[in-house]
Point group: C2
Chain length 777, copies 2
């Protein structure tokens, strides 16, 4: 029951934090030494060279130019200045559309600004000019806050004023739907335009075929070729079978880790030649026999190189390494579009075809899962996720009960004297339980990604989409519902089951919602405002970069790897936005005071993420906004949920006669959703033949002599064969590759070291560097 004062104090503290983060960012980003942390995208694009190369020694690390500090907020207009088409060109459509989700929350003609204006102009006065709460204070000594005076709680029981709220609910619903429809149409157009204007890419011609049926007489490769020569005689061009290189990839990764340690010890030794570094052979170098570190790591690397060579040898001969899947390429986009959209064989679980993702988006490990296994995995994961959502408190509680003072004393008696110090004791008692929960919440996105991987999705983008959906559901249950009604998620579930559908679900929540407004305002400030400001500071990457730079970096290439910013984290970011959409839609009618806080979040997050996308993140793949239908669906579900809550709330406020008017809202909203789905969704899942034919015809006219086969031949080889630096191991594959004619890449990268899978791939398949280099020489 916070008053305006309390909210003000909380807001003050959080604004202080946010401002502190922003100022710290503004200063840190100007230091040349941090340049690679705050502008890695430009380095990766080869458009920025290290400022540490020039100037005096000090100015290599610290920016001494006072004028740049004056303009320390310049990054905001900078971030906003880049126009959208350029942004799409710079960072891809995925990122640009991701930003539009924030924009959907704030901007002119988008959802929340008109909603905020309307609700402040109409609902706040309507709520304010009652005195229900004052009266009940006088009679029942009920506590209330100033915030509550502006909310629906202040309207008396059975008042006719509720009609205002109902009309507003209609207005907000229609406005939201109108905006959503417009946005869906815009993004569908953007996607189609993006796909149409794209240069030639291997995935436009390629279809992934899975579940090739086993055949005793023919190899998978022969089988695929025969099948498609028979069934797509005019269109089939070539194919690449999928090789199970998971073990090889693991070995290569392990070798790289050892190499890192070797580098670390060598640098250490070169700095302090008096003492050769030592290590232990056991787990993580913590125990076991003590040996000379450099010698040990060199020996390990040699052992792994040998194993890798053996594994390569094995893969060449062992037919078990060939998975019953292949990337089949066609002469025309038309042929590929046809094959991807049709059923091939009589048995619908064999010869499954779907569009191949971009080569860098493919999740290689899952390509060989058979149909029945997939369907069982789906069930297992659904059950597992249910338990994760509703019973996740159980392990956390167990850890908490183990991690108390008595538990520690019992298990580690030697720590007793330290723990018994009153200060340390109180710290443990205060923090440990919270930490167990916090750690769980931090690893949750990773757990969800693992679930999605186990479920068998085939591309990184679809993995992230599924993980995002689950994270949203988890948040909805464990953040939203649990905050609104006290008790764990499982207790909620139990009581939902034991009480009535329209009593419990909308009414209980409906009654609790207005009372929780202040809690969620605080939540938005802590999680939203301060969280977003923390995002721009990039504290963790900053520290890690400097550590790596100090301990591991030997070459320019190592430095580039150390600064790799990764991609934007759709699977954690999008569910957060959706939670705010949910809060905004639920409180729009109930407690209009809430909306401005959400608006500030959206505005701040928009600017920050625009900056980050322009300067920092390096998208790993491009799915051309394939996630939009999910985003749309979740906003719709939040809208329907808010309408049900309002119905429940109204019926407890003596306005039950309004139910028939309100019930039309969810019906209409759901109908609207199916309408949008039918109208626009296919732009995200299908590829119209008309477009394909158009691009084919254009291409034939422009480049009549194009050798498509050589262009596609090695587009889809496992990254472990591509990114490997040890060219001597790749002889067999390189030899093959050299036979083919090289198609020159159109975009010339200025990057100092080759790292093909990150930046190229937009206009040409990333051919192994070895080949490029061999051909240049």
């Amino acid at each position: 029951m916070a008053t305006f004062g309390d909210i003000g104090v909380a807001a003050g503290i959080n604004i202080l934090f946010a401002v502190a983060f922003l100022v710290a960012f503004a200063i840190l980003r100007l230091q040349p030494i941090n340049d690679r942390v705050y502008f890695p995208k430009w380095y990766l694009k080869g458009l920025r060279s290290s400022p540490t190369h020039t100037g005096s020694f000090v100015s290599k690390f610290v920016n001494l130019d006072w004028r740049s500090y004056v303009r320390f907020l310049n990054w905001v207009p900078d971030a906003l200045r880049m126009p959208e088409p350029e942004l799409i060109d710079h960072a891809g459509l995925d990122s640009a559309v991701y930003l539009r989700i924030y924009l959907l929350g704030i901007c002119r003609l988008k959802i929340f600004v008109p909603v905020a204006l309307l609700s402040w102009a109409i609902l706040v006065p309507v709520n304010w000019t009652n005195n229900t709460l004052e009266k009940s204070l006088a009679t029942d000594k009920v506590q209330y806050s100033d915030i509550d005076k502006l909310s629906i709680s202040n309207v008396p029981y059975g008042s006719l004023r509720f009609w205002t709220h109902i009309v507003m609910a209609y207005a907000f619903t229609f406005w939201t739907c109108y905006t959503l429809r417009k946005e869906y149409a815009t993004i569908a157009t953007m996607r189609l335009h993006f796909l149409a204007s794209e240069r030639r890419r291997p995935d436009q011609f390629t279809v992934l075929v899975r579940n090739v049926p086993p055949d005793p007489d023919e190899s998978v490769s022969e089988l695929v070729e025969h099948f498609f020569l028979v069934n797509h005689p005019d269109h089939y061009l070539t194919h690449q079978v999928v090789i199970n290189a998971n073990k090889l990839a693991k070995l290569v990764k392990e070798k790289k880790g050892k190499q890192n340690w070797l580098d670390y010890y060598q640098i250490k030794y070169s700095r302090n030649q008096s003492q050769r570094p030592v290590t232990k052979t056991g787990f993580l170098g913590l125990w076991g026999e003590t040996v000379d570190a450099i010698g040990y790591q060199t020996a390990e690397i040699e052992r792994l190189s040998k194993e890798i060579a053996e594994e390569r040898e094995r893969m060449k001969t062992d037919p078990k390494c060939i998975m019953p899947a292949a990337f089949v390429s066609f002469r025309t986009r038309w042929g590929a579009a046809v094959c991807a959209q049709t059923q091939q064989s009589r048995n619908p679980t064999f010869w499954l075809t779907e569009w191949a993702s971009e080569p860098r988006d493919v999740y290689w490990d899952n390509l060989a899962i058979p149909y029945v296994s997939l369907s069982i995995r789906r069930l297992v994961i659904a059950v597992a996720f249910f338990f994760l959502t509703f019973f996740f408190m159980i392990p956390v509680t167990i850890v908490q009960s183990l991690a108390n003072i008595e538990g520690i004393e019992k298990r580690a008696p030697f720590l007793k004297p330290i723990i018994e110090i009153p200060f340390i004791k109180s710290v443990i008692q205060g923090f440990l339980p919270g930490i167990a929960l916090k750690i769980f919440l931090i690893v949750l996105p990773t757990i969800l990604m693992m679930l999605a991987k186990f479920e068998g999705f085939l591309s990184i983008s679809s993995l992230e989409r599924r993980a995002a959906m689950r994270y949203y559901i988890f948040n909805f249950v464990n953040v939203f519902l649990v905050s609104v009604i006290a008790g764990t998620a499982f207790q909620q579930l139990d009581s939902f089951l034991h009480q009535s559908a329209n009593d419990r679900i909308p009414k209980t929540i409906g009654v609790a919602i207005p009372m929780k407004a202040t809690f969620f305002i605080t939540y938005v400030m802590v999680d939203g405002w301060a969280g977003v400001a923390g995002e721009i500071l990039r504290l963790k990457p900053l520290i890690f970069f400097h550590l790596k730079n100090f301990f591991l970096v030997k070459t320019e290439k190592d430095r580039e790897e150390a600064m790799d910013p990764g991609s934007i984290g759709f699977n954690t970011g999008e569910p957060q936005i959706q939670l705010y959409f949910l809060l905004g839609l639920v409180y729009a009618v109930v407690t209009p005071v809430f909306i401005p806080f959400i608006l500030v979040f959206f505005a701040l997050a928009y600017v920050v993420f625009r900056h980050q996308i322009i300067n920092v993140y390096n998208q790993e793949y491009e799915s051309a906004a394939a996630f939009w239908p999910d985003v749309h669906g979740r906003i719709i579900s939040a809208l329907v949920f808010s309408q049900l809550i309002l119905m429940g709330l109204m019926s407890t406020k003596g306005a039950a006669q309004s139910t028939p008017f309100l019930i039309a809202l969810p019906v209409l909203t759901i109908w609207f959703h199916t309408f949008c789905k039918g109208r626009y969704e296919s732009a995200f899942v299908k590829y119209p033949l008309q477009e394909a034919m158009m691009k084919d015809t254009l291409e034939r006219a422009r480049e009549p002599n194009l050798n498509l086969k050589s262009y596609l031949q090695y587009a889809y080889i496992h990254p472990v064969f591509k990114n490997d630096d040890e060219n001597e191991d790749d002889d067999d594959i390189n030899a093959k590759l050299e036979e083919s004619v090289l198609v020159p890449t159109k975009r010339h990268s200025k990057r100092s070291t080759p790292l093909p899978s990150k930046v190229s791939g937009a206009s040409s398949p990333s051919l192994p560097n070895a080949v490029s280099e061999n051909l240049k020489s």
Copy 2:
């Protein structure tokens, strides 16, 4: 609370009725005069000629051969003798698969026989050897029947014996799922085999294209041709635009009606030349000016002929008659399969393609509905059906209140003396209210078909499937639920909403279910046993045929029309079977005594419908068992429902600890459903390219010089242009048709008069008779 005795009496009465119907049938079917009523299918196939043509005058009408009466039950083995492949050939796959639904209920290795055996062997003894009911009779004077002693009600509260029921529930679920999976696989194979072994049919090459976008410069026909020449250049062959002939069809139908009346009056006059028949010009000939009937009808027919001619003239010139839809035919099945399964244009609401149904299955009226209208219609119909299901008692009650004695007396005072006679008064009071309900229930399937038509489905088969689904839902709510828990459907809905999800829905029903066993046993006997026996008697068609035969029939063709048996009525028959499946699955664990009654129904219905399909019904279209996924889905939903009910029942019987064991059942069942859907459903909605390519290749090898274009050119013309007998009106169309080369029909019908759309069409498109006749002459 019926005892065994009561059930025995009810069973006796119903068996008596059933036997009476069967005996009546056995006798009536042997009379030559009824031959066309009981064997119309054979007449329509041209394999049976009228027995009335030979023999003495009396034997034309009555069968005097006593030996045939001895073998009066011969029709049963006759019905069962025809092997399935022959049945498919004789009546089509739809009918054969329809029979398999009954078979699924009974036969060896199918659902209910093992269930019945198991439940009688295990559950009945377990239930019987308790004395809960006897005890409660002693203490609480609770009424119970012998039936209840065999049901789960007899097991004491919290008994460990409930584990038997849980194990049985698992056994039944696994058995049902196993059977369903096997059946789905069998039927998918049958369907694919049927499609693969079919002769050439126009729908294999043809795709229906809808929502052709408007173009100011080109006509629809030109637009379609250009679009497909560009986007399917190697495969496009020809197309036929869809003409809006709804008005013409209406005029033709009206003319036919007048013609019937003219025939009637002419026959009447020829029999009694002393008096020229007269009629009145008003509504239904009931009032208005009295005129000479023959002259009046002749004038009317002339007027209509003129109007028809004008309408034809208008259709030739008016571009509004051309709908933005077309049947596009391709050179190969492969091309058609590709076009039907892919998206054509960037805007997914234009150029919608789907497989064309068979020409005789097309529902022509709906071909021109645009996308937005379709989507609105769907919403309107969903809302309308909701109200129809839950509020249908309201109009019925209003009619009932109007149709009471006082109401009639008020509105029609002149009837007062008649009504006041005690006997008539009691009849009115006893029957009128029931009649209002009965009439509603009789017209319900028609209403549901109208809803489906309004919703915009494109083929008669899909109309029937949708109507069947709705009828099942209606039955579930208004027969099953309303019988189990007293009160109207709307009261149910209201109380469901106001009570808890797991309290109300499974518990209330769970508690009520065992008590309603006797009611449903009676229901099965009345609706099932006697109903099916009534079905074979065909009382209504019998009467109508003889009436028509007496009053209207002039030519052999008229007689054929009078005997037309129609098709099997999937939209009313299938929901009935599904209701029995639901009852069987629900009672399998709760009251095993119930199962044999269901078994008798399935066995009887199987024999009867097998006879009817062989001898009577003439399927209008062939959808190759496209309805099976619906059937499967409904059985699964009944299974899940029965599991939920059992959970509710268990928790009220002090076996709540069993809930975790039982909750796995619906989860597994639903997973099983998605598995089957993924594994088999595509066989019912897609057409694999492999199959298409195979048939194309075979055909090219067999008939290299086939003129496909002429074969397909006029396959899809509106039936009003086909069935019209007045060749003089068809000049313009016939002229066109004659230009094309005629492909001879392979199956030679022996039918005396041509009625092409009913019997041909299986192997060749039914060319207008006019053409065939013109070419013969």
